[in-house]
Structures are given as C-alpha cells and as structure tokens.
C-alpha cells in the first residue's frame, strides 16, 4: 500500500520542547511520477517539512517512504533511496572539490573504500546534465551561490535516489538556470518522487504537478495547480492580493501580486 510513494500521516514537528510548532498535522501523499512543490512565506515550515521526511529532525506521526517508516528505519537504509539537498556552509581550507563532493553522495550505495569507475562515471554524467562539468575541479568554498546551488542539486542526484527532497533548488539562480533546473526536476519525476520548496510561485507552477501551500506550519491548500493557484488561497497564505492571469500558451495560471 505504501510502496512507491511518500506518505505523511498526521506529521507534527516541534522545536524547543514544544514551544515552537514548525509543522501542525501534515497529511500528504506523493506518488511516483509526481512532483510536489511546497510554497509559503518565510518561516512557514517548508524546510522543517523536508527535513522531517529525510529523517534529519524528529517528528510525531508517521512518515512512510516506499513502505519504510522513517524514524523506525536505520538512516543508512533510508539514505540508499532518499536524498535531501539543503543549504550548506562549507568550511574554508577543508573544502572538497566539486567532483569529490558529488562522489560523497554515492557513499551509501557504494561498497568499496575508494570510488569505482561507475561512481565517477555517474558523477560526471550528473555534472554534464546540469551544465557544470567545467566546475568539477573547483573547490566548494570558491563557488558562487548560484554555482553552489547547482552543485547541491548534483549532489542530490548522483545517488540516483527514488525520493528527492530539494530545499529551494532555484534560489540564487538566474532565469535560464531556473528553467534548466525545472526541466531536470520534471525529467526526474518519471522515475522518482520529488518534493521541493521555493519562494518563486511561477517556478512551482511550471515545475510541480501538485502544490502544498504552507503557512505557520499549517497546510492551507494541497492539490493540483488549478485547485491551488486561486486568489483566496494565495491571499490566505501570503496576506497579499494577487490577480491571476492565464498563460495562453501553456494554459497555466500566472499569479501576479499587487504592489500597493
């Protein structure tokens, strides 16, 4: 029943012994082939949601990934099928090169102490797909924030996981890079379950198949693009008035905020 999907059953995340509630009762099901975009204002709990699914932070309730309940399964088992790409703060002087860093992503699935040829081949392939092959010998601490974003994405993909969690994969990216990243996420969705967060509603609309609106840890709306991208729901989430146009080419809604 829970195979091939990510299921969140009444998930609650609290910090500081219950003083701060980051997620209140989230119920979400994402099937293979779906891309879920999580949007909401700052501090809504987007990152907490992803970290809970990845098993990085504690939560109450149940989270199933391909039939494994996350908190009752050893991390290394989850690590073989899931990858989480969040912010990184790389210490200077100890930083790995881009290629080395991407190879670390394959540790959970590799058996040998040093890399195999296949590991290196896969890592280089991912770099190629993201158009950052030229960065492979640069050190992580020397990258610009946009380059770092792409490397973080590459680190998430190199393991070829079933479940991919991306925390703001489009942050710090220029327009064309955003489109490249969006295309890669949609392409991945054929064989995986992808959940990402973003502040860019247009990016979410054009990348995700379903959207979660999150505010103060509460799910304001959850459904397909057409169900979710509505004036009232967006107003409830962002406290901002939107007008919604329709893109004549893609037939997708284009929300535009009012600058009053």
């Amino acid at each position: 029943m829970t195979l091939d999907r990510v299921v969140l059953d009444n998930v609650k995340v609290v910090y500081k012994k219950g003083k701060i509630i980051a997620i209140k009762n989230a119920n979400i099901v994402v099937k293979r082939g779906e891309v879920l975009g999580v949007i909401g204002p700052n501090g809504a709990g987007k990152t907490s949601l992803l970290k809970a699914i990845a098993g990085i932070i504690r939560y109450n309730g149940l989270i199933y990934i391909n039939g494994y309940e996350v908190s009752h399964t050893p991390h290394r088992v989850i690590a073989r099928i899931l990858s989480y790409a969040g912010d990184m703060d790389i210490p200077e002087m100890l930083s790995l090169t881009v290629l080395d860093a991407i190879l670390t992503s394959r540790y959970p699935i590799s058996k040998s102490f040093f890399e195999t040829e296949e590991d290196v081949k896969k890592a280089l392939e991912v770099l190629e797909t993201l158009g950052i092959y030229g960065l492979k010998d640069r050190r992580l601490d020397e990258l610009s924030s946009g380059e770092m974003r792409k490397v973080i994405l590459a680190m998430a993909l190199a393991r070829e996981p079933v479940v991919i969690l991306l925390d703001e994969p489009d942050a710090h990216l220029d327009m064309s890079s955003k489109i490249v990243v969006s295309r890669i996420i949609r392409k991945l969705s054929r064989r995986s379950i992808t959940i990402f967060t973003t502040h860019d509603i247009l990016f979410a609309i054009n990348t995700a198949s379903k959207i979660v609106l999150l505010k103060d840890g509460e799910i304001i709306g959850y459904g397909t693009i057409d169900d979710i991208v509505k004036k009232d729901l967006l107003f409830k989430t962002y406290n901002t008035k939107f007008k919604i146009l329709l893109d004549p080419d893609t037939n997708k809604p284009v929300p535009i905020p009012f600058y009053e």
Binding site: A54, G55, D89, I90, P91, M93, L94
Partner: protein, 325 residues
Amino acid sequence: MFRRYVYFFTSLVTILLLIGVVYYVSLYYGLNEVPQQIMDKILLYRETRLIVALLSGLILGFTGSFLQSSLRNPLVDPYILGIGGGALFATYMYHLFFKITNLYWGALIASIGGLTALALTLVIAETIGGSDVAYVLSGIGVSSMFSGLSIAIYYIIISVNPAASYVYTLLIGSFINVTPSRIPIMFWSLLFLIISYFVFSKPLNALVIGDDYAKQLGYDPRFIRRIITILSGITASIVVMVSGIVGFIGLVSPHIARLIIKSNDNRLVIPISGLIGSLLLISTDNFSRIILSSLFGEIPVGALASSFGSPFFLFLLIKRFRGRV
C-alpha cells in the same frame, strides 16, 4: 580523478623513502670507531628513540587530521585543543602521588587529563559561539591553565620525589628518556587510529560538508564526532605521557598533506598526514641530536617543533581571515 591517486601514491612512496633514509642515517651516524659492546647499547637506544618518534609523529598526524575534519576546523590540533596540557598535568599528578608508576595506569590517567581538558575546551568554545577561532581561544586558555599548573607541580615533584625529576623532559617534549617498554602502548594506539581511518574517513568527508548532509547520507554526525574526538584525545594523551608536549605537529602535518596531494579527501589526507608527522619528528629529533648537540647541546624536539610550527599556525590564521573583517 586519476591524477589525485598519482599524487597520493607518489607522495606516499616519497615520504616512506625519506623516512627510511632519515631512519638509516640517524641509526648508524658516527658509529665507525665504537667498540662492539657499546655499539649494541647505542643502537638499541637510537632504535627505541627513532621508533617512539616515528609512532608519536604518526599518532599526532592522524589525530590532527581527525580533529580538524570532525570539528570542521582547520586551526586545531591536540595541542591547541588543550589535550597536551591536560594530559601533562594528569601525568605530573600521577608522578607526584605515586613513586612507582605503572605504564597502563599512567596511560589511563593521562587520558583522563587529556579528555577533561578537551571537553572543557569544546564546551567553552561552543558557549562563546563555536567559530573556528573560538576553539583556538578557548583551547589556549585551557592549555595555559594546565601547563602553568604542570610547571608548578613539577617543582613540587622534584622536592618530594627527586627520582622522578626526569619528567622534566615531558614539559617541552623530548625523546631523550625513551624506553622500549613504551613502544607497545603507542603501537596499540596507532592501530586503533588506523582502524578508525578505514571506518570513519568517508563519514568525515560527509561531515566536513555539513551535519544535515551527513545525516541524509545515513551517518550520525554527533556519534562520529564524539568517537573521533575521544579516540584522538586518548591517543594524543598517550603521546604526551611518553614523549611530552610536542606542539603543532598535529596542526602542520594535515595541512602539508593537503598541499602536496592537492586534495582534501580524508581517505588520502589522513595517512599522508600521519607519515608527514613521523618524518617531521624524526628529522627534527635527529637534527637536534646529531647537528645541534655538537653546537649548543641537545635542544628538545618539542621546542624545535614549536618554533617552526607556530609561524605556520600564524600563517594559517592570516590565510583564514585575509579579506574578511
């Protein structure tokens, strides 16, 4: 990809050869006209001293890179984190209260001292912000306190138990008073470090990238950090018990290793760092024993290590903070 393995193996072979040359030269230098009976004794002494220096260097090189990676801090080593001072203090306390000392009890007590100082440094560093420099500052504070106390206790030891005055050499770090009985415990320490190298060098690579990243790879960063710091604390304390405080070797060796193999991958850095530590220590010790002793007397290796290690440390500090105010 392939290139870094070439750098690694060339460096490995070169350093091993250099160690071999220094070892051979130091062992046989100036023994031409010595009668056979004395010769055996001299060779035994020199050999012991060389092996202890080799093992100390390996342990310091390993623990230095372990600590730097697990704490994600390029400015630390066992000496800077206060392990040296704490272990020395505990060792002196042991000599103060017990006239007959046992090697394994000594190791235990030194380790307790080293770990206590380390824990103190880490706790203070975290409470003052946990930055790279916070660790250095808190370590300097803790190690000055223990070193100061050690010097005071040393004076009490020589008045209470003059037979133990040889512990003087521990204060500066020297291989002059070595005995073969010390070799096995150092060997075991090294063995543990080598085993943890194979177990933990990949997790450490992930840990350097970040705790969350390591977690989603299936590693437990807190557990790894705890194991690595405790193991480094114990083994570095054993070095202090045997040869005293030899500062900066643990700091310098990993950085030299990273420079020559042009990689920060712990699987490659850690063993090279160990070997560099060894090479530095036996070269310095024998430079002092053979060359300096004919000019001024045998300067303890710890003093020499500090005099070339601390400028390197200052250089690292400047490099780390250049361009950011």
